[in-house]
Assembly symmetry: C2
Homo-oligomer: 329 residues x 2
């Protein structure tokens, strides 16, 4: 059956609140630099009160990937839970305006829409503090089986292991996708997220993931090894394709057939938020369009370069044009 | 009495929703390019649905001026009406985080916090569409007399003539300021706003304004003249100081003593939103600190150059540092 969607993302539906800060601010507030930390409502309130003026933009890892995928010209859909409030309306507007199908009904009367307080230090590194809010109400009932079955790849965001009921949604999506003869992709999201859910991640990677995305720290955390080559050897046994991103060193695509090294695209780094999300979008767009793996990685690098060249995780230019220009150059 | 605040702004409390668009979008939706148009809730909903993905940032003309004034190191306060909702909380957080005192109680249970849908075309021009929401509930009761009396300059935003009850707040603020021996500044905000309220503006300028800010189109509209020199002659009779901004041609400072021409600061223009607001902040900061008028204008130009060099109206760098660097160069 022809797929209705080329990519379906399932993840946390989050609005980012981005502010610049000095290094000293991270120390004062005991924030783990470069990581994503979960915070509760009262901690979110305290941190927000202490932060400088912010810019609000729709975010969420898989949602960012879908927005970038649509900007590349891909047909995408997203499943995630917002509340019935103003920030939920912002999230819904933005993902639809980006050209992504989004029909998950909002949660009513409970916690507000999730937000991620992102602090960007002068070195362009982002430190994320997430209040999950309405995301914790996502359940397997929100996973539309017909939509999963009609999507070439279902892409799962590792952060979604944090909201308790969402793991069941994950497993259901992976099962339905495979039963329909589709592929399942997963991103590990964050080394601390891997630490929190290592056994669940290992089981899912081994049994249900065809395409894995991870950065170097995440893949070392998953296999509890110290050297990158050990992690490469381990992941090669367990997935069809693993894309391992290494910041300015580019990425490595690992398959049974070998290892492909992909260079990073040169750019001026302003804010690294969303680099991995954009890379996954570019890689998967190439993959579903039948491009060779090395080119898929290159497209991922180009999309990532765009993401880190400005404040915020979502693309600011039409990625389809940027990729066409860069590949032709 | 020593002033507690150097600048008190009274204006609409608005959250900006900024999106890029092509010229064709303005034509399709019959939007008046470069102007500020008032829209109702249903028109706002329709336009928002049609717009691309947005970035939310606190805005409002006088509020932007106060944020820039604080970034220059000035002591400022703001009066304006938000609703008791998420966007209202964003506005309150941002203006306080910018270092501006803000204590106007939010409106409860009525219209939501105001928003301005701003479309930025590839030529960096902004076209603004404002849904006033909770701003229409600002009344003279919100004007804290003690705060007005304790502020060196009270700065009134012309757009505040649009919410019906706010005109009374304006007049009260001007009266209280003058009774306390303070100064009153006014910005005309927009040529269409001048057209809507010409007689009221003329009366206020003549009777109650010491420092007037206007761009060339606004001052021509106020006096219904066709040539800039006619407008200069007219305004000279009616205010102590008039700052007339002329985009890339810089500004002209008109006093009884003469006319001072100020050059625009060179910069790359990304989004012109907030240029006039930042100019007023720079000029007034120089004025309350006793700088010569030509230097006040130069500081205004530097602040405006910063505002137009990025998306959004509020400063992205510490203006105090930028001004010190530029004045020393």
């Amino acid at each position: 059956m022809t797929a209705t969607f080329e990519l379906l993302g399932i993840g946390n539906a989050i609005v980012d609140v981005i502010a610049r800060c000095e290094e000293t601010f991270l120390a004062e507030h005991r924030l783990a630099k470069g990581a994503m930390t979960l915070i509760d409502a009262s901690a979110a309130e305290r941190l927000y009160a202490a932060m400088g003026p912010g810019v609000e933009m729709s975010g969420g890892s898989a949602a960012n990937t879908l927005a970038a995928f649509a900007s590349l010209g891909g047909r995408g859909a997203f499943i995630g839970k917002v509340a019935d409030d103003q920030l939920g309306a912002v999230f819904r507007h933005d993902i639809r305006a980006a050209g992504v199908a989004f029909d998950t009904p909002p949660a009513r009367g409970g916690a507000p829409t999730a937000r991620c307080l992102i602090l960007v230090t002068p070195d362009a590194q982002r430190t994320m503090n997430t209040y999950l809010g309405a995301c914790v109400t996502l359940t397997e009932d929100d996973v539309d089986e017909a939509r999963v079955a009609a999507s070439t790849v279902t892409y799962l965001e590792g952060y979604l292991f944090d909201p308790p009921a969402a793991q069941a949604a994950f497993r259901k999506a992976a099962r339905v996708a495979h039963e329909a003869g589709r592929q399942v992709a997963l991103t590990l999201s964050d080394p601390f997220c891997v630490d929190r859910h290592r056994e669940a991640f290992r089981g899912l990677v081994k049994e249900g993931v065809d395409i894995l995305f991870a950065n170097d720290r995440e893949i070392l955390a998953l296999y509890e090894v110290e050297r990158f080559d050990e992690a490469v050897a381990a992941v090669r046994e367990e997935t069809t394709i693993a894309c391992l991103t290494r910041s300015e060193k580019g990425s490595v695509i690992v398959t049974a057939g070998g290892v492909i090294e992909v260079a990073a695209e040169p750019t001026q780094v302003v804010d690294t938020t969303g680099a991995g999300d954009a890379y996954a979008a570019g890689f998967l767009w190439g993959l579903v369009r039948g491009r060779p793996l090395a080119e898929c990685g290159r497209i991922g690098s180009i999309a990532a370069a765009e993401a880190i060249s400005h404040v915020g995780a979502r693309p600011m230019v039409r990625l389809a044009d940027m990729v066409a220009d860069r590949l032709a150059a």
